[in-house]
Amino acid sequence: MAKTGPKKTRRGGESSKLVAGCTVLGTTKDGVRILKPKGGATHFSQKELLGAVASARITNKAR
């Protein structure tokens, strides 16, 4: 007899966000999946990191 339990659903895109057990942070335009590093940064929260990267890129582009 076939199982008739509740159908399991995946949250949107969940299956595509793992590569070899690693979380994918994003995919570059040339198709490379950038993986989440092991452990977080020592001196930055994720929010600080994103802000610092964006700010440095704007500053150097303006030069």
Binding site: A20, G26, T28, I34, P37, T42, F44, A52, S55
Partner: protein, 204 residues
Amino acid sequence: MNERDVFINCPFSADYREFFEAMVFAVVRSGFTPRCARENDDGGEVRIDKIYRIIAESRYGIHDISKTEPDPGSGLPRFNMPLELGLFLGARKFGGKKHAQKKGLILDRDLHRYQNFISDIAGQDIHSHDGDVEKLIEQIAAWLRDAARDLNVPGGRAIAAEFKRFRQDLPGIAASKRLVTAELTFKDLTAIAAAWIIADSGMT
């Protein structure tokens, strides 16, 4: 063993810092996870045990044995890189079926120089970077593309051009936390590289 983990075995001295940053950047940009003995500052874990663990967890290894000069303080050369290379090769040889799949890239300044100081590794995959960061990145990208059979790994010259811009931004990123780049840890560097690459690519 993680299929995307790359054990980085290289000097951590100030004069090698740019090469170290280039290795981390190239590995992240190629879609892999860099691992190294500096990834965890847990004082409770004995250093050699940490290295055993990271080697056990890594499918790939990049070993730069180019630094053979005596340490200015002691007057003796540092043997950590050849030791860790030996552990990696030992794991591959004696670690059973799973670890026999490990692949390693050995880098030196000149292609045949190793024959004068570590000739037993003849027959391994040995490449030279000629003391040039761009060439180092090219070697890593080409090797990862081939070793992992991953055609998505970008060309080395393209990664090297991105690394140059990344390095220009790095002091500003460090300064946001009142740090200089030399104070950024391996974990900082890896996280910054990943965030920068995603921002640079315009994709999330």
